[in-house]
Symmetry: D2
Subunit: 460 residues, 4 copies
Amino acid sequence: VKLWGGRFEESVTETVERFTESISFDKELYRQDIMGSKAHASMLAKQGLVDNSDRDKILEGLSEIQRLIENGEFKWRADREDVHMNIEAALTDMIGEPAKKLHTARSRNDQVQTDFRLWCRDAIDRIIPCIAHLQVALVTLALKNEGLIVPGYTHMQRAQPVLLQHHLLAYVEQLERDIGRLVDCRARLNFCPLGACALAGTGLPIDRFKTADELGFSAPMRNSIDAVSDRDFVVEFLSANSIIAVHLSRLGEEWVLWASEEFGFITPSDSVSTGSSIMPQKKNPDPMELVRGKSARVIGNLVTLLTLCKGLPPSYNRDLQEDKEPVFDSVKTIVGMLEVSAEFAHNITYNKERIYRALPAGHLDATTLADYLVKKGIPFRTSHDIVGRSVAFCVSRNCQLKDLSLDELRSINPVFDEDVYEYLGVENAVKNFCSYGSTGSECVASQMDDWVRKLNIEGI
Amino acid sequence: VKLWGGRFEESVTETVERFTESISFDKELYRQDIMGSKAHASMLAKQGLVDNSDRDKILEGLSEIQRLIENGEFKWRADREDVHMNIEAALTDMIGEPAKKLHTARSRNDQVQTDFRLWCRDAIDRIIPCIAHLQVALVTLALKNEGLIVPGYTHMQRAQPVLLQHHLLAYVEQLERDIGRLVDCRARLNFCPLGACALAGTGLPIDRFKTADELGFSAPMRNSIDAVSDRDFVVEFLSANSIIAVHLSRLGEEWVLWASEEFGFITPSDSVSTGSSIMPQKKNPDPMELVRGKSARVIGNLVTLLTLCKGLPPSYNRDLQEDKEPVFDSVKTIVGMLEVSAEFAHNITYNKERIYRALPAGHLDATTLADYLVKKGIPFRTSHDIVGRSVAFCVSRNCQLKDLSLDELRSINPVFDEDVYEYLGVENAVKNFCSYGSTGSECVASQMDDWVRKLNIEGI
Amino acid sequence: VKLWGGRFEESVTETVERFTESISFDKELYRQDIMGSKAHASMLAKQGLVDNSDRDKILEGLSEIQRLIENGEFKWRADREDVHMNIEAALTDMIGEPAKKLHTARSRNDQVQTDFRLWCRDAIDRIIPCIAHLQVALVTLALKNEGLIVPGYTHMQRAQPVLLQHHLLAYVEQLERDIGRLVDCRARLNFCPLGACALAGTGLPIDRFKTADELGFSAPMRNSIDAVSDRDFVVEFLSANSIIAVHLSRLGEEWVLWASEEFGFITPSDSVSTGSSIMPQKKNPDPMELVRGKSARVIGNLVTLLTLCKGLPPSYNRDLQEDKEPVFDSVKTIVGMLEVSAEFAHNITYNKERIYRALPAGHLDATTLADYLVKKGIPFRTSHDIVGRSVAFCVSRNCQLKDLSLDELRSINPVFDEDVYEYLGVENAVKNFCSYGSTGSECVASQMDDWVRKLNIEGI
Amino acid sequence: VKLWGGRFEESVTETVERFTESISFDKELYRQDIMGSKAHASMLAKQGLVDNSDRDKILEGLSEIQRLIENGEFKWRADREDVHMNIEAALTDMIGEPAKKLHTARSRNDQVQTDFRLWCRDAIDRIIPCIAHLQVALVTLALKNEGLIVPGYTHMQRAQPVLLQHHLLAYVEQLERDIGRLVDCRARLNFCPLGACALAGTGLPIDRFKTADELGFSAPMRNSIDAVSDRDFVVEFLSANSIIAVHLSRLGEEWVLWASEEFGFITPSDSVSTGSSIMPQKKNPDPMELVRGKSARVIGNLVTLLTLCKGLPPSYNRDLQEDKEPVFDSVKTIVGMLEVSAEFAHNITYNKERIYRALPAGHLDATTLADYLVKKGIPFRTSHDIVGRSVAFCVSRNCQLKDLSLDELRSINPVFDEDVYEYLGVENAVKNFCSYGSTGSECVASQMDDWVRKLNIEGI
């Protein structure tokens, strides 16, 4: 009954069958498996290894199987072990003899790698637009809040005033690098293992360049043993996903904090909030908590793959069957995280009044004042010390730097002049920034323009 | 429509609903959820918070729901979010008003923790017998191969001869500690969070000792905030599973190696082997490769949990919803790994002839010879050197230590005497071991007896 | 020159020596190594394997070496590879021939395991008091702030009012379980591998019970192969540390947030804060940020160990040399995290005035109001809905529940009565809690008493 | 005393100082820190923010400090916290007032990022040649063993015969992708954060393009907040290292196995082997065991970084100080693993005679026989079955396929013809492979030529 029947006298036990089956999850690869088989069959025909009539039956049969699967009419069978054997056996049931030629000059070892590389390539092509979509959502949110100043933090302590647009663009930059990593990963994985067969290639006159080309690969892989044994493309893909996940976890942390009563900087709409089964007043930013939380499983999946591959004996080992579920889960999770983050971005209101009232606290203009002193010729270390004492003076008076009179300032250091007030207060502080990449209004406007153009965002 | 309807004006978007739902996986908790609700309802009635007639309707309704679920007739609804709300809402559909009293003095925060602790406890109670079952399989395998000597390895290099029984009991010992860890974990998690409500407890006159008792917990948890926010019991459980997984991965590595052509020490039966879709002669020990491989996901799941909990703000956060799938997956995987390892053990034949022929290689008696010299009064370091030179001599002659004549031995060092031959050869080497815990025949026989008794193994 | 000189014709290359040496880190084990060698030598003498005069020279020599090491006068040599060979070779340099007998009936395989188990046992004995010390610091902090009500959070949203004491005791509970895990781990690792030798035991008449006893172990390990090959005790120890680390990371997150301008609930003293090299006004809670951050390396170390052991071939492999650095680092990190957390606790001031002003926001008494309705006989689900609408009413009026007049309340539902005001406001809310483990004043007072007694805290 | 003295009234406690210091490890960055400071000072002078005479004093002072450090004459001070403050403060001690201007328009937040990116870039530039060096060693080893056929494995079971050259080139391919990942990572990280200051940029007229250019960066980073808060480049670097580590762990596993008595395919020279302290006959391939083992710490370091960054609040947090040690350790480990693997490759002898004797076992020509049948027009599935039965026949006779007479073969299936013997036996099997990337002699020769040329390997 089994595909390797020839020299086997007994079937595997039920426990073994249940433990080793992969059909429950690798059917996810059906589309890629059929695509690969079609390219393989066409190549076999071109090379004279099957005749054209058999090829046509195979191609039609595979199309029909795809139709059945997509209509939910295909019967997956655990005793047929995996997606490859399910489809091939169904094809045999359907068209008979010609189906037995399909597995010529290939093995499941190269077949599954081909399917999986195609699947990962498709997944990357699905994730990148989701990232871009979130970038658009963030830039759109920034556009809606032009001119809004928020506290910038380091160590969760207020540091300097920044434009919200500048703050949001930091995430956009990170996401742009995330795309870059996926693009690099895609290019590196896009080589075709098909024809490596079990591990050594074949003596039959196949044309690997043809199948590679038909499947959109850059070229066939150069070494058949490498082709069936390495999974570095999977680890690289999961690493790229993990970095995205970490970026989103930090966005999640920010929005959860900013939605708290204590910050109160944003209000998510009811449509992205949930309540409590016991506390009637609650409104929770659950989606972003889950974004933060789900980053953990993306990281866990990466660890699974690394641990899986570590120390494996050379070439293909059955352990490698375990490479798929972590990837399927990681992709599904990342897509969900990206989508829901974009949705959240579209449903946030910044509480301008509350933010405005909050700005005076924290002496956000202290560094600008130090810059002022530098411009007056005071060495920075000395300026830092003078401003430090000025802040201490304010703390003791419970006031802001801009509330100090010139006399008071001069009592700390005589260098202060009337023009100091052009540097105090958060608006002045923001206005004074001018370095490339800074939060200065012009720098930010220019960055915003670049992103609006790059992301093709229509005016809002 | 939603349970927190009161102050909400909009439903969540479809993207958010899909992303935040947990019913697709937390329905796994249905049995524990119903058990918890029954105990809670009984307690509420005893405390006069619901009347007995309402309680009875609740209990009957819950039993009916359990019946429906177990018959596959229950309709899980994603818009009802999770297992708790699905069951409570179904109860309301079924019995009306009394169901609305069930959520008195509890929150989903304490409810899910109660369910999950019960589930983990049940899982531990399922895993421990699987471990014991594998211990039995290993001891049985040892009993079948009494007296068989195999090479003992360090650094994958042959080191000393050991009895196979001794070698297999090493795994039995490891599994015994694995049970110990689970037992400790079970005791530590077996405290009842129910009644902690959202996080602060309640002002209603509940009796937490009664529910704890009815659910088989040692006591209620002492601090309500701790009860809803910590997941250390999950991490401890996943750690214990990870250690089991590592132990099994090493057993897998051994059996995969020993089944290779090069070792050839064991032959797994066809019923636990699989073949190749391309190479007709192959017979692969797939189950044990997968055991080795699946250890990776158990470790990955642990990393997920640790990363999930790391740095979370105090008390309950929605991130914690992510605590369940890694545990469900870990338990399913561990149970499968244990079962299939036991099955494999039952289907191994040791190739005694081949092992016997292999034993001479590797100078496994060299250390015994050094012990001989120590007994003759030579300091160990000097003995080590003498034997080292004797081995070098053998290597140059391509012979075994026992093949050397007394004259040859004496040419290396005059201390050798006729009785040296009682120490040479692997049988003599094994015979000479006598320290507690060693591979000496009597020591091993005594250990075997202890395990046979402890594991209640009948004569084979 | 090398210890295995006998059959070797070449020294290892410099690259190999540098890559494989362990003396740069395993000298950390010197104290345990000497302790183990002394016990071993005494046993050998008792068993007649060395004579008493040699034993005395060995013991004296080892004491002298310990003295030299502790005075920084010992010369560690990389060409002597590891701590064991450094000490043994130095002993040989010092006392000559008798030293060559010390390695009788042991191998570095069992020796290093003995040293390392002793080291881990000592480390546990160092960590547990640090945990207790932090518990004391937290309870002391709680004692200093009796009666202080703070917002309790779920989802970082205000949920219900809780007593600060209750909130802090949640951490104390977690730390108590952390101790429990270490105690269990200690008991499980406290078995003696010495005498397992390379992997098979020995034919020399040693007494493993004597060495085990002298070194404070419960008993010798039962199986020599298990003794040299398993590292599950290390993984268990690192898991226990990881859970501690996660607990502390959450404490860190809390204190960092509460020290922010937005929360403003705590002020750390200058003595546990740091400033900025550029922003003169900054005061950052760095130690607790680092506590949060350093949890990551404790987790990373655990992953290192699990990945290290996964899939290793049976018995001892040189890979296992890598088991030590992660443990040394983990222990040092955990001790530092515990110490600095306690120090931070001693240097926190809760800003009572600010907290008091913050309490009205967030409708923290809503759940208490729902309990009130339940007491009036309204089913909880209905109560929840009524309170939900009451809160919505407050939101629209920008007021608190307690600000609503009885008429206003009755316009929502006629069940409200004059006594409702005994349930509104955070003080009333806290006063109403009464369930075991709740934040009710009496429950908390009783828990505080228990902890003060258990931790032997003197009145403050 | 401290750099942020202005508003601080107390020094940090000794516990805090010890816990938060980074000088013990970040002094590793001294060269990059000085390089960055020099570029910064030059830019400040060009922009008129310091005068040329001050700049010259700064540059000379920094050169002198570098000289002191490299001669071991620099005194690192823990009370000066980190590498940046140690160098700046020493500069102040040395040249006085001008040094106080160096920190103008920068913060340690952007400074450390600049240093660290430079360090990582340098590290990549160190690792890539080590990879290439190992590739050369592997190709050289292949050149030395031209024509040698070894068993190819899947599932650790013999599968098909392959040329050793082909087998070794699989690793060379993997290493080539490893280089690609590092190159991509290098390009992505090579943007300059300097001038981002604390997080918002500066109001002083700096020229970030000039410093970026002088330090060899592609451009300044576009967003100052992103510049100080993200560590994705570190995670990407550690991921790339982890994949290298996994590749090497598999090479390690192979060589450890192949050096075992059971395989006996390779003999490492004494210069890369170690012996045993107890077993005089042992010769262990320790370096490759450690290569396999050390992969675990490289993976652990990656997990540390991912866990560290997960869920961090926006912008710079002190947690990020923990980003360095895992990277330093990872780089040191990877370089060591690569070097020692190359050294091992140079010290391996393949045991041709033993391999030759081993080849007949395992029916390695079975798949070639199936290809033969396909060429005769038999569908592959049927061929597979025929060969399966032929192998079963051989197993029962304990013979090889090539030992079967034509009659015997025809008794299984009449299609066999005299030419079948051109397909049987491992030499014929290898000869028959012809597909691109296969182990066929011509394909492999062509691949070898390509690599010899690409790696500039001289004839051996």
